[in-house]
C-alpha cells in the first residue's frame, strides 16, 4: 500500500493512504477522545469529541470521518480542542437526566469516564430535564431514554452487524429519540432478534439487561469489531 507523510502533534509519520485520521492516531498510540466511534461500525462524526486542528483548515474536523492526506499537519491536543471537548462533555450531561449515583452503569460508563477525562468539575449550561420514557417492554433488556446520548452506536450495530435494523432515529434537535421499528415498544418489535449487540454497543446505562443491578454491568463493545473481523476472515 502506498505511503504518505504526515505530522501529528509534531511527530512525523509515514502512514498508509486511505485511512482516517482517527485510525492513524490509534495505530500510532496517539490518544483521541471518542464516543460515537466503535470499531466495526461506520463512523458518523456525531459526538464531536474527536475534533482535530489541521493546519490550513479554518475549522475543527472530526478525526473519525476525515481521511488522512499527504503533508497534513495535525494537532490533537491544543487548548482549543480541550475546551471544545469539555463543552461537549457538559452538553451531554445537561441535555438529559444523567444521575450517576443511581445508574446501573455507574463505574462502568463511558460518559462518566469522559467527564473525568475532560476534567469536568461542574456544568455551566442549564439542565433541560426532559421528560423521557423508560421502555421496559422487552423481556430481557431496558431502554432508558434519560441516559441516551444519541451516539447511535446501537442503531449502527443493529443495522450493520446484526442486519435487523430494529433501531432508528426519530425527530431532530433536543427532541431526537432512538426508536424501535416505527416507534413501537421494543417488546413489540417485529425486527428485533434480541441478540443483545445494542446492549454491548451502548456506551452508557441507556440500554441494559434487566437481570443485573449496579455493579454487575459488564458490557463488551469490542465484540462488535471482533465479529466484523471474523466475518471478513470467513469470506
Amino acid at each position: 500500500m502506498p505511503k504518505i507523510s504526515v505530522t501529528i502533534d509534531d511527530k512525523k509519520l509515514d502512514v498508509d493512504v486511505g485511512k482516517t485520521i482517527l485510525e492513524v492516531c490509534k495505530e500510532n498510540g496517539i490518544e483521541i477522545l471518542t464516543m460515537c466511534h466503535l470499531k466495526g461500525l461506520t463512523d458518523v462524526g456525531a459526538c464531536r469529541l474527536c475534533l482535530v486542528e489541521i493546519e490550513g483548515v479554518n475549522k475543527l474536523l472530526s478525526a473519525c470521518t476525515t481521511k488522512i492526506a499527504a503533508n497534513m499537519i495535525i494537532r490533537t491536543k491544543t487548548e482549543k480542542i480541550k475546551r471544545y471537548q469539555r463543552i461537549t462533555s457538559e452538553l451531554f450531561f445537561a441535555e438529559r437526566n444523567h444521575v450517576c449515583s443511581v445508574c446501573v452503569a455507574n463505574g462502568k460508563c463511558d460518559l462518566q469516564k469522559l467527564g473525568y477525562k475532560t476534567e469536568m468539575n461542574h456544568i455551566r449550561y442549564p439542565y433541560l430535564f426532559p421528560e423521557c420514557n423508560v421502555d421496559t417492554s422487552h423481556p430481557w433488556y431496558v431502554l432508558d431514554h434519560n441516559r441516551c446520548i444519541m451516539c447511535t452506536r446501537c442503531v449502527r450495530a443493529c443495522g450493520e452487524v446484526e442486519g435487523a435494523h430494529n433501531w432508528n432515529v426519530m425527530n431532530r434537535g433536543y427532541q431526537v429519540r432512538i426508536i424501535s421499528d416505527f416507534d413501537t415498544p421494543w417488546g413489540e418489535s417485529v425486527t428485533c432478534t434480541s441478540c443483545g449487540k445494542c446492549v454491548h454497543a451502548c456506551p452508557t446505562g441507556a440500554i441494559w439487561p434487566k437481570a443485573i443491578v449496579q455493579g454487575q454491568l459488564e458490557k463488551k463493545p469490542e465484540i462488535i469489531g471482533e465479529l466484523v473481523e471474523k466475518r471478513k476472515m470467513n469470506l
Binding site: V102, K210, V213, Q216
Partner: protein
C-alpha cells in the same frame, strides 16, 4: 379558653437530629402547655418519582433517601424485588446482607448515642450549648469521643469491606449479593470485634450511671404507654434483618405474632395531618385514637422474648427487670435499648464472620419478573421499614409505598413532646436547658427525617412566644 390569651412557643430548628423539624408548643391562658406539634417541614417525593422506573433499580435508588440507614432501604427494597421475582437468596448472600445490616445498625447507634446524645449525659443538659456536642465531648472526654467515632467507623467498614462502599452500597441484588467477601476482609473485620465490644460496654456504663444519678427524671420522662411493633425470629428472639412481625399492647400482651410482613396493610393504616409532611400511622384494629404504636430499639426489646447472643441477653434481662417483665414505656430508655442492640450486633457480626460459608462464591440466586407486587420489610436502626411496590407486566413501577420507621413513631413523638413540655415549660419563663429537654425527647427516638444532614453543635435557635394574634411577647435566641 379565651383565644386572645393563648400563647405559642416555636422551637425551630430542632437540633442534633437527622433532618429538619420544628416544634410548636401551645400555651393556655395560665401559661401551661396545652398542645404540642412536631412538624416535619421537608418534602422528598421519592414515592412519586420512582414510578416509571424498573423495579430492580429500587435497591440502588431508595438508599439515597438517607445517609444514615441506606442499607435498610436497600434490604427492604431487594426483599420486595425478590417477592416480585418469587426467589429466595442464597445462604451466603443472606448472611452478607445480614452482616452489613448489623454494621449499619452499629454505625447508626454509635452516631445516635456517642455523637448526638452522650454530650447531654456527660456534659449536662444545662451546660454551654456551644460545647454540648461531639467536639465538646472530645475536649473533655477524648477517649470516649474517639471510641464513639471508631465504633461508627467499624460499622461503616463492614459495608466497605463487604460491598466496596461505606455509605451507599453497591452490589445488593435480588437473590443475594453481587460480590463475595474475601478472606482478607473477613479477617480484617474480625480484628475489630474486641474494641467494638468494649466501646459498647463503656456506652452502657455511661447510660446506666446516668440512670442512677437521675432516677426521678429518667423514670418520669415521657412515660405514656403505647403499643409496640417489631420483628422477631421464629422463637420470639429480637431480629434486625429478617423475621415476622409482632405487636404487643401496653401490658406486654402479644396482640399479633409471627405476622407475615406482606400483610402489613391489614394491621397498619396511615392518616395525614395538616401541620406536617410526616403521616400518622396507627394500629388498625385499635383505630386512630388508641392505635399509637412505637417501633425502634425500645419497641424491639419490648416485644422480644430473648436476644440471640449471650452478652446482649444478660443486658436484656436487666432491661426487662426495669418493667418487671412488662414493656418499658419510658422514652429515655431508648438509649439503653439502643446500646443493648449494639452489643447484640457486635456479637452477631462476630458469629457471622465465623460462618464457614461466609466467603463462599455462591452469593446470588437468579430470577426474573414473575409477580406484579412485592413487599419487603426489615428493621432499620430506627424501626420497622416497609417497601411496597406494584409493577406493570414488564416490571415498570406503577405504585410505590414506603412506610418509614420514624413515621410510625411520629404520633408517639408528638405525645412525648407534649408530656415533657408540660413537665418543664411554664409560661413565658423559658430557659435554654429546658428547651433542650424538649428537643431531647425527640432525640430519644433518634428520628431520621430525611436524612443526610445532621447538625453538630448548637444550631442557631430562635424561640418565640406569640399571642393568638401573632404578636411576639417574648423572644430568646441561642447561637
Amino acid at each position: 379558653m379565651d383565644s386572645s390569651t393563648k400563647r405559642q412557643i416555636l422551637i425551630s430548628p430542632v437540633t442534633r437530629i437527622e433532618g429538619h423539624a420544628k416544634i410548636t408548643l401551645q400555651l393556655d391562658e395560665n401559661g401551661n402547655v396545652d398542645g404540642a406539634f412536631f412538624h416535619v417541614n421537608e418534602f422528598r417525593g421519592f414515592e412519586k418519582f420512582c414510578e416509571g422506573r424498573m423495579y430492580t433499580e429500587m435497591p440502588i435508588i431508595t438508599p439515597r433517601i438517607c445517609g444514615i440507614c441506606p442499607i435498610s432501604h436497600s434490604i427492604a427494597s431487594v426483599k420486595a424485588c425478590e417477592m416480585i421475582q418469587g426467589i429466595t437468596p442464597t445462604h451466603t448472600g443472606n448472611q452478607l446482607r445480614r452482616l452489613i445490616q448489623l454494621g449499619q445498625a452499629l454505625s447508626s447507634h454509635a452516631l445516635s448515642f456517642f455523637h448526638l446524645s452522650s454530650p447531654d449525659f456527660l456534659l449536662g443538659y444545662d451546660s454551654d450549648p456551644s460545647k454540648r456536642n461531639i467536639l465538646g465531648l472530645a475536649d473533655k472526654y477524648p477517649d470516649i469521643a474517639l471510641r464513639g467515632i471508631r465504633l461508627r467507623k467499624f460499622g461503616q467498614e463492614i459495608s466497605e469491606r463487604v460491598t466496596g462502599k461505606k455509605i451507599h452500597i453497591a452490589g445488593i441484588a435480588p437473590g443475594g449479593m453481587a460480590f463475595p467477601l474475601t478472606e482478607h476482609n473477613r479477617k480484617a473485620l474480625l480484628a475489630w470485634i474486641h474494641e467494638a465490644t468494649e466501646t459498647v460496654q463503656i456506652g452502657i456504663g455511661i447510660i446506666k450511671k446516668f440512670h442512677e444519678e437521675n432516677e426521678a427524671m429518667v423514670k418520669s420522662f415521657a412515660t405514656s404507654p403505647t403499643l409496640y411493633m417489631g420483628t422477631v425470629g421464629p422463637d420470639g428472639e429480637m431480629e434486625l434483618y429478617d423475621g415476622k412481625l409482632r405487636f404487643v399492647d401496653v401490658d406486654g400482651t402479644i396482640l399479633q405474632d409471627q405476622l407475615d410482613p406482606a400483610r402489613y396493610l391489614e394491621f397498619i393504616a396511615e392518616r395525614s395531618v395538616s401541620w406536617s409532611y410526616l403521616k400518622y400511622p396507627y394500629y388498625k384494629p385499635y383505630g386512630f385514637d388508641k392505635g399509637f404504636y412505637r417501633v425502634g430499639p425500645l419497641a424491639r426489646l419490648n416485644i422480644a422474648s430473648k436476644m440471640k447472643t449471650p452478652k446482649a441477653q444478660k443486658e436484656f434481662e436487666i432491661f426487662k427487670a426495669i418493667g418487671n417483665g412488662k414493656p418499658v414505656h419510658g422514652t429515655f430508655y431508648f438509649h439503653y435499648a439502643r446500646l443493648i442492640e449494639a452489643l447484640g450486633c457486635v456479637e452477631e457480626a462476630e458469629r457471622i464472620l465465623h460462618d464457614h460459608e461466609i466467603t463462599s462464591e455462591n452469593i446470588q440466586a437468579h430470577g426474573r419478573w414473575n409477580y406484579a407486587e412485592g413487599i419487603g420489610c426489615t428493621e432499620a436502626p430506627r424501626g420497622t421499614l416497609f417497601h411496597h411496590y406494584k409493577t406493570d407486566d414488564t416490571g415498570k413501577l406503577i405504585n410505590v409505598n414506603l412506610l418509614i420507621a420514624t413515621g410510625q413513631n411520629n404520633p408517639s413523638m408528638n405525645r412525648s413532646v407534649l408530656e415533657v413540655a408540660k413537665q418543664y415549660v411554664k409560661g413565658n419563663d423559658i430557659q435554654e436547658g429546658m428547651l433542650n429537654r424538649v428537643e431531647s425527647t425527640i432525640r430519644c427516638y433518634d428520628p431520621c427525617l430525611s436524612c443526610s444532614t445532621h447538625a453538630v453543635g448548637a444550631m442557631p435557635m430562635v424561640v418565640e412566644v406569640k399571642d393568638a394574634d401573632g404578636n411576639i411577647v417574648k423572644r430568646i435566641e441561642r447561637n
